[in-house]
């Protein structure tokens, strides 16, 4: 029965991703930015009458759909490598920034009581540090009340951009992690239990004493979970909040990043949150349907100009103005119709 279900589900996904009615812009991909895309789409429709049909089928699905040209744009939390972007004839640009936050469930520990650095975090997720009173954790938190409670690592069981950002950070700060596990939307986890989706991880952490997991910032905030402060590249302890994500995004060198291939983990800056990441849009350089692509670009142009407040309300960080300028330059230079005429000029 379950295969039949799976196949039916796959079929439905395929059908639902068929090109939408002409006036509507169609997109598919990442689940992480879905709330803000949906909110933008709603406001945009009220203002212009043009609708956006966004299917949050996951980053992997978004990449597949845009390559198959069944949608106007694809969305992914993991940026495609510059060579892959070129090979597929795509343009890639970031829309909003968010962050992964380590969350714990420990008696007597509240948000900010605990701080960890990258190496310790990697050792916990490698299963090498097994109890909360381990010397490495104690050294970072001399005043915290830590017991010999066993550490229960909770990770994502489904592929996810959240996992990509998390494992990319651990790979940057731990050579061990890089060689043994690596960075991807899904990895071979050396320890812990898996849960589906941000909400699954959040639930499992809240259910399990001694648990540590990672979720999108919005989930930690909305569920009032106990967050852990991180020691960033500059050696400063930072708490996860919009300002810290903003600092990470501002300190990043977007303009020189080819195809905006930039992962906002382990960024410099005293106030930078080390586990931040942007979410990306993929669109064809020479779209089959230039009219639809133009509409899509207009939508994102509008979102950059007017969607910032809405993004902040939902705990995302809008792109800095300098980056938006660079993105729009790429649009007018690279996205063209069959005659070589730019779809959107500034």
């Amino acid at each position: 029965m379950n295969f039949i279900k799976t196949i039916v589900a796959a079929g439905l996904v395929a059908v639902s991703a068929l090109p939408a009615v002409a006036a509507d812009i169609s997109g598919a991909g990442a689940t992480f930015p879905y709330p803000i895309y949906a909110k933008w789409a709603d406001a945009y429709k009220k203002e212009t009458g043009n609708g956006l049909n966004y299917q949050s089928i996951g980053s992997g699905g978004g990449i597949k759909q845009i390559q198959a040209k069944t949608v106007t744009f694809g969305a992914s939390d993991m940026p495609l490598k510059p060579e892959d972007v070129e090979k597929a004839g795509l343009v890639q640009f970031p829309t909003v920034v968010g962050g992964d936050v380590p969350v714990v469930n420990l008696d007597g520990v509240t948000s900010g009581d605990l701080k960890l650095d990258g190496t310790t975090l990697a050792k916990i997720f490698l299963g090498e540090i097994k109890t909360w009173d381990d010397a490495a954790i104690k050294a970072l938190n001399p005043s915290a009340k830590l017991t010999s409670q066993a550490i229960v690592v909770v990770h994502r069981s489904d592929g996810s951009g959240t996992t990509f950002i998390w494992t990319d950070y651990l790979s940057k700060v731990s050579a061990d992690w890089k060689s043994k596990v690596g960075a991807n939307t899904a990895v071979e986890w050396p320890a812990g239990i898996g849960a589906k989706g941000n909400e699954g991880v959040a639930n499992n952490v809240m259910q399990t004493k001694g648990a540590i997991g990672y979720v999108e910032y919005a989930y930690a905030k909305q569920n009032k979970m106990t967050t852990v402060n991180m020691i960033n590249k500059d050696g400063k302890s930072v708490a996860p909040d919009a300002a810290a994500f903003q600092a990470a995004a501002a300190n990043a060198d977007w303009v020189n990043a080819k195809n905006f291939y930039l992962i906002l983990t382990d960024q410099p800056g005293a106030a930078s949150w080390p586990i931040a990441g942007a979410t990306f849009i993929l669109i064809h350089k020479q779209p089959q349907d230039p009219a639809a692509a133009t509409e899509a670009l207009k939508f994102f142009s509008w979102a950059y100009a007017k969607g910032g407040k809405m993004a902040e309300d939902l705990d995302y960080v809008p792109m800095p103005a300098s980056v938006v300028k660079a993105i729009q330059a790429v649009w007018s230079n690279e996205i063209k119709d069959a005659n070589g005429k730019p779809l959107l000029t500034n």
Partner: protein, 331 residues
């Protein structure tokens, strides 16, 4: 006049024949239509089954070509290096199903024995209905209940003493070691056991009811206790049917997805400890299908599906065969 009077019946007779022929034709036509409709509906099922097998096989070809037989015996499941092996999910599937049956079969048989032999009449219906309702609960409800109620309870009250008790017992310490996660192979098996209990119970009850009363009465007459009647008369007589019911339950346990995904921990590892997290084939597919990037990853998931298909197919075939045998004997 004479000719005319003779013509009347003749004409009406001919008309009668024509009417009858027309009516018969109409009947035949509607029969034909009906036959074609029923047959194509039946053939449709075969076509779907064939299509599913074919789709699974074609979809899993890339993975089978890449990994060959190694796919079945490798524990690695690494999306980064694209090395996939089915051993951990296959182990998890068989292990949780086996443990579930280990719990559910004795329980189900005891309930069935109580219902057929010992239960007062007024209590029969409520218990029978409760068992059937248990079968009607959607599996996602079991999953939620398992995650929010059963798992925290096990983590705090059951698993720590289990771990402590068997800490220094050779052999058993490996089965009950590690931090108490709450969720894992053991919790998944418990949930599965509750889910298959109705299958085992209701089929056992039905076959127990089919035992000729004269056999039981004769045994009681010889001075057998109820347990002895069950053990030496009813169970041997219904053995095949009970096994059939167990197999049907096993079929459900093997393919169960949602409830297991919630409480098994979704870790691609094989641990000796029953308290450790693991994964099953269907949980892996449900978790990873939407975000599987790359042909080999997707194909490996479909190959997992093919393996599960083969396992459940064999189990259900055995179940049907055994049930068919007992039906022939009773009938």
């Amino acid at each position: 006049m004479v000719e005319v009077t003779w013509q009347g019946p003749d004409v009406s007779a001919r008309q009668n024949v024509e009417d009858r022929a027309r009516a018969l034709n109409r009947l035949r036509l509607s029969d034909d239509v009906f036959r074609i409709m029923t047959r194509s509906a039946a053939m449709f099922v075969l076509a779907i089954l064939g299509g599913v097998i074919l789709a699974l096989f074609l979809g899993s070809l890339p993975a089978l070509r890449e990994f060959g037989f190694g796919f079945l015996v490798s524990e690695s499941w690494n999306p980064v290096t694209e090395k996939f092996g089915a051993l951990a999910p296959v182990y998890g599937t068989l292990m949780t199903s086996f443990l579930a049956m280990l719990i559910a079969v004795p329980f189900g048989l005891l309930i069935a024995m109580f219902l057929t032999e010992l239960c007062p009449k007024w209590l029969r219906r409520p218990i029978g209905i409760a068992i059937e309702l248990l079968a009607g609960i959607p599996s996602i409800i079991y999953g939620i209940w398992g995650l929010f109620v059963l798992a925290p309870f096990l983590q705090q009250y059951i698993q720590p003493p289990l771990i402590k008790t068997f800490q220094n017992v050779p052999g058993l310490s490996a089965l009950f070691e590690g931090p108490p996660y709450g969720i894992g192979i053991f919790t998944a098996s418990l949930i599965l056991a509750i889910m298959v209990l109705p299958f085992v119970t209701s089929i056992s009850r039905d076959v127990f009811d089919a035992v000729p009363p004269v056999l039981k009465e004769a045994a009681y007459g010889l001075g057998c206790s109820t347990w002895e009647v069950m053990r030496y008369v009813v169970l041997p007589y219904t053995r095949v049917g009970v096994i059939g019911g167990v197999m049907l339950g096993l079929g459900r346990a093997l393919g169960e997805t949602m409830a297991v995904t919630f409480v098994i921990g979704n870790a691609h590892r094989i641990s000796t400890s029953l308290l450790a997290p693991g994964t099953t084939i269907s949980a892996t597919i449900a978790n990873e299908f939407t975000e599987a990037v790359g042909d080999l990853y997707t194909s490996s998931l479909i190959a997992l599906g093919l393996i599960l298909f083969v396992i459940t197919f064999v189990v259900l075939a055995i179940a049907r065969y055994l049930l068919m045998r007992i039906e022939r004997r009773i009938g």
